[in-house]
Symmetry: C2
């Protein structure tokens, strides 16, 4: 029997801010993280560990992690593109590293200046580094495959290559693997097909989907993922986001709309939508120049809405 | 085997315009209808036959029908709330009547000043009227159940009442029945449940879904409907729409985004997205005061997109 609990990882502080030019003060970032945690979000990707000259927005990454770690019960995640980032993230004390590997050779070269197989070799070095740590200092290691469903440079992406790299990451030591529609190319039939194919190779090690709503199919794609057994999704408050190395990519699926969909279907997220909308309002006030999207903040919850029933266990 | 062809009925000229205060010139309406027909849309709900004092926007209903009927291959549909509207629609020469019956008593009273069962009795009178016509003058008779998935006045709507009214309409002589999420209350699990329940009663006589994107779940709901076997959907270009008697209701699902989703999944709509986007641009220019939404017009088709393959039969 498939679980009726769904995990949401808020990625706005990382994916939403990476293309925001003006530096967002650390206090704004941590207030955002705190507000979402207070609404019941249990995992937040709070930053990237990348060189400051590449993405100045994350110059305060270590400070953000340190503050986020003070929130009880919150899993503090960070994206790392290489061993150096992994070392910095571990030094900062993250609970979870998300390593990113792009299936598209062109996007991989643009994003990390390495081919997919060179990036796989970097992942192996990170696994070795983590193995050298005391067990209590070792964070969870997630591998995120990006441009899985299409690429702005290459168009279609070979599904066999997706399966090969997912299997290689799992074999190399990823605790879990996620699939990202970095640039909003996916359709629901493709989501089902690719999730099923990757699961045939690595089973339950494939846990999560990271979806963008570039072409309006974000929640339909999430639904297709749910139906294929996925119970963990990345999303961004207000749909903030995009990829600086993928022109035309727009924001992540909207956290509050996703939570509304899941709860209305009777799936439990543990998140209080009212408090999540409070967090959105506070963030909009703090980032007046950014484009916030979504529906439920404007329409409001339907009359009589109660969300999923509480867990009986 | 389920069909890989999906029918789209454009309802913007009716559902999109009914809450537009300023009268839209007949030439704008017919240019819109012609442009969509040229893009491959084969059915368009072009107006409502309601008293001019109730909805002045449809004062030119008969003229719009007459012009639309000159387009080869186009099914010209119109909404009718009562026998008088049905008589006018037949006199104008529509190919298809869509009679509307709201499951919610409160919404029904607000919309047509009749209870659902009084409206059912009106439907029986329309059936008798149509039976009195020469066969070649008799249009197709569709029955559209509205507020099927929730109501702004009443909240939840009883699914047994939906099934009872769908069966009553089919038995009374509806050629086909559709289910409308008038105010954007539906979730994908509910869509599957209700479609399955209604199909258990009236089988393939349930043909279509009419969805609104009030809370962002429109395309996810369409996907759930597809999976439950539905192969006909209403939609509005640019997501125009709303219901004057359902406060807070926003527009229909966006025709061009729906067509993009279906075609990307390999389902055939017969519609050329590029020409559909041309029609949207022309309509936006003609209606500068209206709010157009959607995604694919801005993001563009993904690199390498080809849509569904042509039919082999």
């Amino acid at each position: 029997m498939v679980s009726d609990t769904v995990e949401i990882c808020e990625v706005g502080p990382r994916d939403g801010l990476q293309s925001v030019k003006d530096f967002v003060p650390t206090a704004v970032k941590t207030a955002w993280i705190s507000a979402e945690a207070a609404a019941g979000v249990r995992e937040i990707e709070v930053c990237s560990f990348v060189p400051e000259r590449v993405v100045p927005q994350f110059a305060d990454a270590a400070a953000v992690v340190a503050l986020a770690r003070t929130i009880p019960g919150l899993t503090v995640a960070a994206l790392v593109p290489n061993l150096r980032g992994a070392r910095d993230a571990v030094a900062a004390g993250v609970h979870k590293l998300t390593f990113t590997l792009s299936v598209s050779r062109s996007h991989s070269l643009a994003n990390v200046r390495r081919t997919p197989d060179e990036q796989l070799a970097e992942f192996v070095r990170i696994v070795a580094f983590l193995a050298s740590l005391e067990p209590e200092r070792r964070p969870q290691l997630s591998a995120g495959l990006s441009t899985v469903f299409g690429c702005v440079y290459e168009g279609a992406v070979d599904e066999r290559e997706v399966c090969r790299l997912a299997a290689a990451l799992a074999e190399a030591g990823a605790d879990d693997v996620s699939l990202a529609d970095t640039t909003g190319h996916a359709d629901p039939a493709q989501i089902r097909r690719v999730v099923t194919a990757v699961r045939a190779g690595i089973g339950e090690r494939l846990t999560a989907l990271h979806l963008h709503d570039t072409r309006g199919l974000g929640l339909a794609n999430a639904l297709a993922g749910l139906e294929a057994g996925i119970r963990s999704f990345d999303a961004a408050l207000g749909g903030l986001g995009g990829c600086p190395f993928a022109p035309g990519a727009l924001g992540n699926i909207v956290t509050e709309d996703l939570v509304y969909m899941l709860e209305s279907m009777g799936l439990r997220t543990g998140i209080d939508i009212g408090r999540l909308l409070d967090a959105r309002r506070a963030l909009e006030a703090a980032l007046p120049g950014e484009r916030f999207v979504g529906h439920i903040h404007r329409a409001g919850l339907p009359k009589g809405f109660r969300g999923a029933p509480p867990a009986t266990a």
